[in-house]
Each structure stands twice: as structure tokens, then as C-alpha cells.
Symmetry: C2
Subunit: 253 residues, 2 copies
């Protein structure tokens, strides 16, 4: 949940300056759920803080003169090393009990940061949450100075996450599923032309369960967002499946 540049030296003054109370609005954080999908497996990007055993979503704080969109674009890049990631806001979490000052103290201590100078980090925060969906085979995340590691974890093998981060992941997943039809076009996770089977693989990956082929095909065609092209010939022509693409611009339902 901290926002720090990778190339800051841990023992330098810069390090402390970067989480200076005066530079941020109090009580407002952001977190990001970065889904990775390679056509088969769905994973999530998780940071592990230095020597704490604490796992968390990449996040940060809102600068005094920043919009959330600016804070998130810069913060996620610095925490994960991933450039040009478009993240979409999906929910703001505000349970008064979501703070975990003990864990935050531990992170500060393990990074040699003065707790008193950073006591604003122990306060209550609301968190504005964002998500993105990318192909995890195409990026190479880099942990920032506060983290030991940054890694892709399968949904069913997530480590225990700090605070309410597991709940944030679940809400992101619900949102992703709800918006799947509308979001697909922008995600660039399918080739320009794809077969119905490839599209079905994608949905099955996100839903985490097998879908019936005929019902899936009927539903997809009813959305009126697909355009049918030539068949994909691979030798055995009698079994060649049709290729589809998304109609662009994707019409709102």
C-alpha cells in the first residue's frame, strides 16, 4: 500500500521525503488489482514486503495536488515496474476497521523508516480500488524498494493478504465478470480474429468453471458484438472453425 520509487536508496533522505506527510492528503489511499491472463490461467499481482511476511496489492497515496488517476498511473508504475497500464476504478472501500496499524509499523520498521515521522500512515484510510487485465506473459514486474518480491499468484493460491485486500480482490473479480462482455474489446487479450473455442477458453478462465459449448455460442451470438469471418483452415478442412472478431466500435447494449 506504499508509494515509493524503485530507484530511491533505502537509507537516503529521499526515501523518507517520498512519504512526507505534507505531500499527501491524509486518509486516502488507492489499491490496484492487476489481473494477468494468458488465455488459460488467471493470476493476480501481489507484493511481499521486506522481511515481514506481509503480502499486499500494489497501492499508494493521493498527492496534495494530484487526481486519483494521476496518483494511480504513477504509483502503480513505480510499485510494479509496469508501464502504460490502464487501470479502471471500480470501488472505494471505507470500513472503519480496515486499518492495520501494527502491520504498517512492521513495514516501516523493516524498511528503517521512523515511525513517529510517518505516524499519518497508521491512521484510518479509505482505499479507492482500481483493476486492470493484462497478459502476464508480456510483462516483467519489478518490485519496488519496500518489497522483497512481486509475483503473479493464481486465484486459488493467493497468500494471505493484508487488511481487506482479499475482499478487494473478490470485488474486482465480481466487477470483471460483470463487465466481461463490454471490456473484452479493449483488453487485447485475444488475437484480432479468434475462434469461438478461443473465446470460450477466455470466459472459462475468468469464471473459473467450464461452460457448455452450445449455450455459450448462442449467448455470444445474441450479444450482436461479433462479426463472423472466413474459416480457419489447418489441413483438416471439414473441421475448420469460423473466425470471429469484435465489431468496432463496440456498441453499448
Amino acid at each position: 500500500m506504499l508509494y515509493l520509487q524503485k530507484n530511491y536508496n533505502l537509507d537516503s533522505e529521499k526515501h523518507l521525503t517520498s512519504l512526507n506527510k505534507e505531500d499527501y492528503l491524509p486518509h486516502i489511499a488507492f489499491d490496484s488489482v492487476i489481473f494477468g491472463f494468458n488465455g488459460k490461467d488467471l493470476k493476480i499481482l501481489v507484493l511481499e514486503y521486506q522481511n515481514t511476511g506481509l503480502f499486499a496489492l500494489p497501492g499508494g497515496f493521493l498527492g496534495r495536488n494530484e487526481s486519483l488517476e494521476e496518483a494511480v498511473a504513477n504509483g502503480v508504475k513505480q510499485r510494479t515496474g509496469i508501464n502504460n497500464l490502464y487501470l479502471e476504478q471500480f470501488h472505494t472501500f471505507s470500513n472503519p476497521g480496515r486499518a492495520n496499524p501494527e502491520a504498517m509499523k512492521q513495514i516501516l520498521e523493516m524498511n528503517g523508516m521512523n515511525i513517529k515521522a510517518h505516524d499519518w500512515l497508521l491512521d484510518r484510510f479509505i482505499s479507492v480500488a482500481y483493476y486492470a487485465l493484462i497478459n502476464f506473459e508480456e510483462v516483467d514486474p519489478v518490485p519496488d524498494a519496500l518489497a522483497d518480491s512481486i509475483d503473479w499468484y493464481s486465484l486459488d493460491k493467493l497468500p494471505p493478504l493484508m487488511m481487506d485486500h482479499r475482499k478487494i480482490v473478490q470485488k474486482a473479480l465480481d466487477t470483471l465478470r460483470d463487465n466481461l462482455d463490454r471490456k473484452l474489446l479493449g483488453m487485447n487479450l485475444l488475437p484480432e480474429k479468434f475462434t469461438m473455442k478461443e473465446l470460450q477458453n477466455f470466459y472459462e478462465g475468468i469464471y473459473g468453471e467450464p461452460l457448455k459449448r452450445t449455450a455459450f455460442q448462442r449467448r455470444m451470438l445474441a450479444t450482436n458484438t461479433l462479426e463472423r469471418h472466413e474459416k480457419r483452415y489447418d489441413g483438416g478442412a471439414h473441421k475448420a472453425p469460423y473466425l470471429y472478431s469484435f465489431k468496432a466500435p463496440l456498441k453499448k447494449k
Copy 2:
């Protein structure tokens, strides 16, 4: 954007206490877009502040020990007089330029509130925005102590709204349109059984434009969320339309 109980006396100490800096988290507000629809016209609920000519969405602030959901449930009830309104969060607005301290000063002055004691209200705020959709013929909104009036305004006759409230309305409208199919069931704006024509009226009201009957019917039936019942007989039996209801529970697509 202020949060005040209707039954507070304007000149009492209670009034000031209710916007006491110590009781709220700084920099965090909420606003609500309450859509009213009677089957034909779509309107929005807007407050006018006492003697200022300033119009705004009903809103408020986040109490130190409250979740946003609690703050919104209580705040909207107090500002509009409407009970048991379920509001759904849709976006958090954070442009650093969205504050309007001059307008806020004017509201404080016109309500006899000490500006210095309430200077935290002149700071920058992010606003977590919520929306609801109700039948405006079934509720009777009551302005709170800070407002001259609270009224339903048609979308094309909205008065100029404070700060970025017009942008918040537009985003709420976009969200409502995007979510219409999924939200319909819970909104109680249609009778339990309705004709395809009644359903079409509803969509046309929200989209603000006429839709083609045959295409509309085909699209609705393809969603697989409607159950067909007997015809509605009204004498001229040969023209009697079928009645439909929503399948419950509404399956996620």
C-alpha cells in the same frame, strides 16, 4: 454537499456541532444522484441552498467512525427526507480543481455559520458518488435546514450545479444506462407483470430516445431474463399483448 439533520435549529449550538471538524475525516465527501422515473419522465433531485442561488446534489461528509455506506444512508435521509433509499456507489471524483471555496463560504455565511470554525470545509475534497433510481411519484422530498428547496428537475432542465456536480450527474447516467438490464429487477419501477411495450417505455425514458419495437423485443428476449405469462385482456382480445416478468433470482450473464 453538507450533512445536517433537518430538525437541528439553525441558531443552536447543535447546528455547529454537527459540522465539527473533529467529527469528520478531512478531504472526503459523498454526493448522491437520485434519479426519479415515473414510467415516462426521468428527473434528478437537486437542492437549492438558502439565499445563494447555488444548486447542488444532496451530499455530505464521512464521520470519523463511519463507513461510507453508513454516512450515505444517514446523510441522504437527512438531506432529502427520503427513507430506506438504497444507493449504489459508482465513482470517486478527485480532480484537485473541483473545490469551490467561494461557494462554500457563501453557503456558510448565508446559514449564519462561522467560517473560521468551519474552514476545513473550504479544503480540497474527493467525492465518492452514489446513485439510486426511484419512482418520483412515490416520495415526497423535504429540504434540510441548509436548503431553500429540494426539487425534481428534468435532465434537460437542470439548473447550473455547483462544482463538478453536472459531471457527476453525467457519469451516473452513463452508469445507469450501462447497468440497466442488470438493475431493472431491483428497482421496483415496473409492475410485477408488464408488457413488452411498458418495458420499452422504461428503456426509452432512460436512453432519452425512441427505440425500434422489433429490435428491442428481440434483444430483450435474447437476454434470457424474462418469463412470458398469459396475455393481458382488455376487451379487444385480438390485440392483447403478452405479459412478462423477470426471472428471479436474476442470473448473472
